[in-house]
């Protein structure tokens, strides 16, 4: 089976279905299910110990799930390991580099391990070095490179077999802001090349900017899996809109609460911004705006209150370090 589209709906690249995995009696994954669509950048977030790395290791065939089915490009990760491995590139949360090698030797080694012929290796290595902007450092020892450079080398290694799916475990951890921004630029470039990227990260603002879809996992359970836009609107019971006034108006919250269909209203601290939630059954956005205008207050903005990934993360996951 390929990832070619079947009619109008494309087949998912990764299908995780009801996976359970335990370590020494502790359940790391508890009936986890989610899908990743082709050519998407899918974020995978969760607190420490939530089960992100375990999920990634199962998807990349390093671990066998104790229960459930995981398919990558339609191939079962247990029964068709080699087929899966040829199509994916996995970057673990550590650099996984031979630090006594030069960058070129390191890439050459992995390209040869993937069975690339000599001439093909030369071309592919030059390409990945250019893509990761490492061509000027190709003869440097990896041990002498900065953390950001080592991470790029590791990413270049993942790309030598031209995988359709990249699995990246905390690629930005420990990088300085510049290295992080540069890494994100590389990921954007890869997405534009049609690669599917599955990225586990703690850097939520950057994920929110980059990702098309996201899976939030906590204590081994999927709390949300779907599009970013869905996450930003779906978790509240009532739709929420933000009304921005030119100046603060005394008693406005009480007046808004009296409007038909409004279930809640509050002020964003220190600013003349008010969040208004309403009941779909009693009103709609047009009617709400009309009612607000009738209040005769200086409205300068009216926007849907999309929650940031940070807020969703905080709401969906439990407090405290596990």
């Amino acid at each position: 089976m390929s990832n070619a589209t079947n009619g109008s709906s494309p087949q998912p690249i990764i299908e995780v279905d009801d996976v359970v995995h335990s370590f020494k009696g502790r359940r790391a994954l508890d009936h986890v299910s989610f899908k990743v669509m082709p050519k998407s950048l899918h974020g995978f977030v969760g607190p420490n110990g939530a089960g992100k790395t375990t999920s990634l290791k199962i998807i990349c065939t390093l671990l066998c799930p104790q229960f459930g089915v995981v398919k990558v490009f339609g191939h079962d990760v247990v029964d068709e390991q080699k087929l899966v491995r040829r199509k994916i590139g996995f970057m673990p949360d550590h650099f996984s580099t031979y630090r006594q090698m030069t960058v070129y030797e390191y890439l050459d080694f992995f390209a040869a391990a993937y069975g690339l012929a000599f001439a093909q290796r030369t071309r592919v290595i030059d390409e990945v070095l250019a893509l990761t902007d490492m061509d000027g450092r190709k003869n440097d020892l990896i041990s002498g490179l900065s953390r950001g450079m080592q991470q790029r080398t590791s990413l270049a290694r993942v790309l030598v077999n031209d995988p359709d799916l990249l699995l990246l475990d905390e690629p930005a951890s420990g990088l300085d802001p510049r290295a992080r921004i540069e890494l994100m630029d590389i990921l954007k470039a890869l997405r534009s090349m049609g690669k599917t990227i599955f990225i586990s990260s703690h850097i939520l603002p950057e994920l929110a900017e980059l990702c098309d879809s996201v899976t939030i996992i906590d204590k081994g359970k999927v709390m949300y899996s779907g599009t970013m836009s869905g996450l930003q609107t779906s978790t509240n019971e009532y739709p929420t809109w933000r009304v921005t006034l030119a100046t603060e108006v005394d008693g406005i919250i009480d007046r808004i609460k009296t409007l038909r269909g409004v279930v809640d209203a509050d002020q964003v601290e220190g600013r003349p911004d008010y969040r208004v939630s309403y009941d779909w059954a009693l009103t709609d956005t047009n009617n709400l705006l009309r009612s607000l205008l009738e209040l005769d207050v200086p409205i300068v903005g009216f926007t849907e209150d999309k929650r940031h990934l940070n807020d969703a993360f905080m709401d969906l996951t439990t407090k405290g370090v596990k």
């Binding site: 290791k57 990349c60 390093l62 673990p92 580099t97 006594q100 030069t102 020892l141």
Partner: protein, 526 residues
């Protein structure tokens, strides 16, 4: 400094006290002594005064244990911090160089001393068996403790100077080898000088002869032999005790002096490219070059076997060794007493030793380096099976043994009286294959242990070979197959017996390889 030192020491001792395996190990050691004691007591029925024999066994066992296990244990004191890049953290915590050295080495020294102390009351029981006095027991333990101080500090010095635990352990072994052969050399030189007419009546000659005396007596092995002699009544504090402690302190001082330049300027992660040159260097023909079609063979040949430059270096060294042996044998009345006829056997032994040593070092690094550099998961992600990766890596390491193997093959040609038929007969000898099998199992054991321990797989394998060979039924089968009038060789002929040994070797190695593969898979997922 003292706060930090105590913190390191307390932490090490707490860890030691918490780990069950350490207590089990000590228990096993005492259990072994108890078994020896039991055996000695049984012997007392038919052997007069078995106490000396019992005491002698334990003393030599201790000396061997301290030497073999201590080399790995002590030489990783600082290198483990370098490899984990935690030296800077220790310094930031307010520990100065002396504090780190004391904190890291003293705890290990105490652990080994505790092992000696725990045996002491049991050893006193040897006195009741007869043949040994309390003085001998006390003297032997004082000698061993002084030797431990020396070994610990020599290893500490190597640990400061070198980047990797393996290299530090190798150089410690070399230094301790010199320490072990020094008495023999001193004795030979003394005899030669006296034969030349040197006397103690001439002041400067007397000083040199005293120095040689001192060298002869500074070795613990020599001293233990002295202690074991019946009627030993010399003082406990001998030259060996004094010189060993002094040597230990000297090494500690050197380690302290060199700590700053060697540790603070160390390459990150204790990673060194060794003798390999880069493709941009002038000698690029000796660089690893482009990867071969089997990259695993290429990698292990270049980065574990040492690559072309080390290969050339080894050829030069083994060639020089041959010339050295020839030159020595041509020297009349040479120290070793060699003649030209001895060149073949001596070179053969040397090359066999070099081959075995290189093979052991390669076995300890073949998978351990992947664990150390955390590259196992990346390797397992390749569309290659674990056996393919493992066997390819083994071939790469074996290629690095080329010069020693070549030297050994050439030395076989030099053996006087060696003919083709004798060679074939020798090759079919089941005893030879039993020896090869034992060594192969030893190598597998080293590789397996290197996946479990951070350091010291080689000495650990050395000590585990005893119980493995006792418990493993293969050895019992080998006794049936191999030599002796009732062995299979004498009943079936040598070839069937040899084939049986091959099958047994294959089976045992296969079991070890399965265990290694399972462990690699487990480590790759961590």
């Amino acid at each position: 400094m003292y706060y930090g030192l105590l913190a390191l020491l307390t932490r090490a001792l707490r860890l030691d006290a918490r780990q069950l395996r350490n207590h089990l190990f000590r228990l096993a050691f005492v259990g072994f002594i108890y078994l020896c004691l039991l055996w000695a007591s049984i012997q007392s029925g038919f052997l007069g005064a078995p106490g000396l024999s019992f005491f002698s066994q334990i003393a030599w066992l201790n000396a061997m244990f301290i030497t073999c296990a201590g080399i790995g244990f002590f030489s990783s004191a600082i290198t483990e911090e370098k490899e984990e890049e935690t030296i800077g953290l220790l310094q930031m915590a307010g520990l100065d160089h002396l504090g780190i050295l004391l904190g890291k080495s003293t705890s290990r020294l105490i652990q080994v001393m505790l092992l000696l102390v725990v045996q002491f009351p049991f050893m006193l029981l040897a006195v009741t068996l007869g043949g040994v006095t309390t003085l001998q027991i006390v003297a032997a333990y004082v000698d061993l403790m002084a030797y431990t101080v020396l070994l610990a500090n020599v290893a500490l010095l190597c640990s400061v100077v070198f980047q990797r635990g393996g290299t530090a352990a190798a150089y410690t072994t070399l230094l301790m080898l010199i320490y072990a052969i020094a008495p023999r050399y001193a004795a030979f030189q003394k005899t030669s000088l006296i034969a030349m007419g040197w006397t103690k009546s001439v002041w400067w000659q007397s000083r040199i002869l005293d120095c040689l005396d001192w060298m002869e007596e500074s070795c613990v092995f020599y001293q233990l032999m002295e202690v074991m002699t019946t009627g030993f009544a010399k003082p406990i504090l001998t030259r060996q005790v004094g010189s060993n402690i002094l040597g230990g302190l000297l090494c500690f001082g050197l380690a302290w002096l060199l700590f700053g330049p060697r540790v603070n300027n160390a390459a990150p992660g204790g990673v060194s490219r060794g003798a390999l040159v880069k493709s941009t260097s002038r000698m690029k023909f000796l660089s690893p070059g482009r990867c071969w079609s089997n990259p695993f063979i290429w990698k292990d040949f270049q980065f574990i076997g040492g690559g072309y430059l080390l290969l050339a270096g080894k050829l030069a060294v083994y060639g020089a060794l041959f010339l050295g042996i020839v030159a020595t044998s041509l020297t009349p009345q040479n120290w070793f007493g060699w003649t030209l006829n001895d060149v073949g056997p001596v070179y053969c032994q040397c090359m066999l030793g070099a081959l075995a040593l290189e093979a052991c070092v390669s076995a300890s690094r073949i998978f351990h380096d992947e664990i150390r550099l955390q590259t196992m998961s990346a390797l397992l992600m390749m569309p290659r099976s674990i056996p393919y990766i493992g066997y390819s890596k083994a071939i790469g390491c074996i290629m690095g043994l080329g010069p020693a193997a070549l030297g050994f093959a050439l030395s076989l040609n030099m053996l006087t009286g060696m003919t083709y038929s004798k060679l074939v007969t020798g090759i079919l000898d089941p005893r030879l294959w039993a020896a090869i099998m034992t060594f192969l199992i030893f190598l597998h054991l080293i590789a397996l242990l290197s996946l479990f321990v951070k350091w010291g797989a080689l000495p650990a394998a050395f000590f585990l070979m005893g119980p493995v060979s006792t418990c493993c039924p293969v050895w019992q089968l080998l006794l049936v197959v191999g030599p002796g009038p009732n062995g299979l060789a004498s009943i079936w002929g040598e070839l069937p017996a040899t084939i049986t040994v091959w099958i047994l070797t294959g089976l045992v190695c296969f079991v070890f390889q399965m265990m290694i593969a399972a462990r690699l898979q487990e480590l790759g997922t961590k």
